[in-house]
Symmetry: C2
DNA sequence: TTGCGGTAACTTACTCGAAGGTCATATCCC
DNA sequence: GGGATATGACCTTCGAGTAAGTTACCGCAA
């Protein structure tokens, strides 16, 4: 009886893995890969650290599983919106609306996708490339439509605007998370007003000297 | 002679401190506070770790000095631009232009300001609040002018648009850093075209359901 | 039904390395 | 000689990863 608490609890591996991944998503997405500790995640999930290692091999392996879980959720939602026939800024607005609704119960998933403290090599880098490409493809597609409407065909312009767009999405989600109590519908309305404001503002005539 | 390399090199403290802070800015701004090691910074600066502790007390103290150094540089530049009489998007464009020129020789200063792995309490938090407020004040001022031009007086809208603006600046700088060889003047031209593109795009008529 | 071996599930208690921080000492300028 | 400048070697803490053992479930033979 040296290890009083040892022995199986009768929970099948698949169930435990999901349970651990969900706890890991919240921790990784909240404090980031760098600050997260495997022991803390295990405690959150209600099991011990070695079980995490038995199932996921390493901290990086656990992050990989969590990342895939979260990224798949988000990518699927964005592709769903992209399948509509809206274009230009309206398509952007619909994407935002879908994200707000999806993230309401699990806002940390978004941070998971763009965690700057995550490993930048190995399988994690591969997975991030896969999902970033998948999401960026949608953004590039949307931005490309917008640029075509306006008559700008510089590919670097499109690349830069894609970066700005994704960053704006990030900022709006971060702002939303900082203002609890604002519903997804209200946020979508706010985004609509902001787009209107930007479009209504006068364009500067020339460049600074 | 057990410590062969010991003894003063005749460098006054103020000079060494500046030398260390400059090395620290580059490391902190490149890999972030979390991943940076004091030993590596000391090596970069060409001195030993205990000297860093003698002069700055702790890793956090070193970061604080570096942060103040970098943030002051950036805040001063932005205030210089804000003193002009341009308004709306033109003011935004001039701010971007000033930042590109300022950051060209030391791009890492920007990352220093928004390092998510920096400590979020103590003196560092205080300093960040001071500089964030100082910079955000400028952004809010600029956004406020724009919102007034357009007729939107919702303070939360202004708050959110400020967040989006600062994030867009961040994205443009990050994009620029990923595309070496692009001059500040070219970047400013690109930003001008992007603003034009956004303003020219049709505003969506209504909200998603 | 009962007993029993094999396997999957699970834990305590450890090792090990990296990095923050300190101590005692050495050298040089005035 | 005294104080400022400087360092090699050390201590300490924290967290990733591991070794080895414990318990429960399950199929199957008697």
């Amino acid at each position: 009886m040296t290890r009083a608490n040892a022995g199986t609890k009768g929970v099948p591996r698949a169930d435990r893995e999901l349970q651990i991944v969900r706890a890991a998503c919240e921790v990784f997405g909240t404090v980031g890969f760098g600050r997260a500790s495997v022991a803390a995640i295990a405690a959150d999930a209600g099991i011990s650290k070695p079980l995490v290692y038995q199932y996921f091999g390493s901290k990086e392996g656990l992050f990989l599983a969590s990342f895939n879980y979260g990224a798949e959720t988000l990518a699927a939602e964005m592709e769903r919106v992209a399948a509509d026939d809206s274009v230009g800024l309206e398509r952007g607005l619909r994407t935002l609306d879908g994200l707000f609704r999806m993230l309401e119960p699990q806002p940390w998933l978004w941070r998971l996708l763009f965690d700057p403290t995550a490993p930048d090599d190995g399988e994690v880098a591969t997975a991030r490339t896969v999902y970033t490409d998948r999401i960026t493809r949608l953004a590039i597609e949307g931005v490309g439509e917008l640029m075509q409407l306006v008559g700008d065909d510089d590919p670097l312009d499109a690349s830069a605007l894609t970066a700005v767009w994704m960053s704006a999405v990030d900022a709006l989600i971060a702002w939303w998370l900082d203002h609890p109590g604002v519903t997804p519908a209200e946020m979508t309305g706010r985004c609509h007003r902001l787009i209107t404001a930007l479009s209504g503002a006068a364009v500067p005539a020339d460049l600074p000297s």
